[in-house]
């Protein structure tokens, strides 16, 4: 690697030393107000094929090891918490539907959500309360955090696997909306939702 310019070196050193992902703004403040966006882009490019990469997750940047080297590093490091099936489902529902209330989560899952399930996700730092829905009862609504994006390697929520397809297929809309639409389209005869046809999802 060639010697980068001083700003790039400073951004590189700052992000290397940081214990948490940093936003461009935070880096800029740390470096006395320098404009760092170009330096970040340059660094990301320089590290693109190396054993460590510079990545942006939810507007925050950090260095991490390259994903293809996971097998070398994984070993003695099973620190990642194992989520229950219920917790993974709730997390997915929050991520794909946010902001979402507990009742909405439950209506999708068809079961009550144990109090502990959301707590686990909040304790992990992946989900937080973002306010209340202005409907009767003013239920609390939940959304994901920047830490969620960091952990799952998502630049933004747009990177959620399959979210565009799910949205296009209407699968992120409430049942009521889809029902009204389908009844209209199919004349209520066959009860067959002819919205978008699809093929098998390839979840690996």
């Amino acid at each position: 690697m060639s010697r980068p310019d001083d700003l790039v070196r400073a951004v590189e050193a700052t992000l290397f030393a940081a214990t948490e992902p940093m936003s461009a703004e935070a880096i800029s403040v740390h470096l006395g107000g320098a404009e760092v966006k170009a330096a970040l882009a340059e660094l990301a490019e320089q590290y693109r094929e190396r054993g460590i990469n510079l990545v942006e997750r939810g507007k925050r940047w950090h260095f991490q090891t390259a994903p293809d080297l996971a097998h070398l590093l994984r070993r003695e490091r099973e620190e990642v918490r194992r989520l229950s099936r219920a917790a993974t489902e709730v997390l997915a529902i929050v991520a794909y539907h946010e902001p979402v209330s507990r009742a909405e989560i439950e209506s999708i899952r068809g079961v009550q959500t144990a109090k502990g399930t959301l707590d686990v996700l909040m304790e992990a730092g992946w989900v937080r309360i973002v306010g209340r829905r202005e409907v009767p009862g003013r239920p609390v609504i939940y959304a994901t955090t920047p830490e969620f994006l960091t952990h799952f390697g998502l630049e933004s929520r747009r990177d959620l696997p399959g979210i565009d397809e799910l949205r296009a297929a209407g699968l992120l809309d409430p049942v009521e909306d889809a029902l009204a639409e389908a009844m209209e389209a199919a004349g209520g005869a066959e009860g067959e939702a002819e919205t978008q046809s699809g093929d098998e999802a390839d979840a690996d």
Partner: protein
């Protein structure tokens, strides 16, 4: 399997879900895991997946039959079923009968609508379950990719630059002094009759009169009301003092009644 086209969907490939029941091919094994389902919708989805068709083309009637069969057999095996499984069974039985009714006798909402609603819910649950699996399968920080093991950390030492000005300083000192200065109470000048003058007045009046007199009669006549209050207090104390010295006797017939006073000749 249904014919598929080139757009994404929410069906499950046979091997992409390792959930409960995936390995349970025998009915018996399946029943014993009834606890493992997260509610009837979960069980229905699992059954639907066994039809191995796109969820949008699933046969609701077949699904209902399968569900009811499972519930019946679970009951036959005396497995304790949660109430919501039974509620769902009852509802599905109703749905089935409605679906089989002649078209003109259909209730409202139509059984087709109810079936569609169930189908839509199953699709949504399946979509989220698929999404969850894909999410969990990503390169996760701390599992597949790693942050720096021993970052030096960025320390920002906050140094305070204290501010205070001359006036604040001097004013603060003034406040301390004002707060802690000895407090002097100024008592207003009041018209009073001292105990001494009351004593001499009462005892001299007792000397010239041997009859019972009310205490009020010892007070100076036509006095200012404020002086009168003071004189009353002083005269009362004077009367007590004279009684203590054996120079007078006191009598009061009732509480708050007139206090009578009489001199004792030595």
């Amino acid at each position: 399997m249904t014919e598929t086209v080139d757009t994404p969907s929410i069906t499950f490939a046979e091997d992409d879900w390792q959930g409960i029941g995936a390995a349970a091919t025998e009915d018996q094994a399946l029943y014993l895991e009834l606890d493992g389902w997260e509610g009837p919708l979960d069980l229905l989805l699992d059954l639907a997946r066994r039809q191995k068709v796109d969820l949008r083309r699933i046969s609701i009637l077949e699904l209902v039959d399968q569900y009811l069969t499972y519930i019946e057999r679970a009951e036959a095996l005396r497995l304790e079923l949660a109430a919501d499984y039974l509620v769902m069974a009852a509802w599905l039985a109703y749905l089935k009968s409605a679906l089989l009714l002649p078209r003109e006798e259909q209730p409202d909402p139509s059984p087709e609508e109810l079936a569609l609603r169930l189908q839509l819910r199953l699709q949504r649950l399946a979509a989220m379950r698929d999404a969850a699996a894909r999410l969990m399968g990503r390169d996760r920080l701390g599992r597949d990719v790693f942050a720096r093991g021993a970052p030096e950390g960025l320390r920002v030492d906050r140094k305070s630059l204290w501010q205070c000005d001359w006036f604040a300083l001097v004013q603060a000192y003034g406040q301390v002094k004002a707060r802690t200065a000895p407090v002097v109470h100024m008592v207003r000048d009041r018209m009073v009759m001292t105990l001494d003058s009351a004593l001499s007045r009462v005892s001299s009046m007792l000397g010239v009169n041997l009859d019972w007199m009310e205490l009020r009669d010892f007070l100076p006549p036509h006095a200012d009301p404020r002086l009168r209050r003071s004189a009353m207090a002083s005269s009362f104390v004077a009367a007590l003092e004279l009684a203590r010295l054996g120079k007078a006797e006191l009598q009061q017939d009732e509480t708050f009644g007139p206090l009578m006073l009489r001199g004792i000749r030595a």
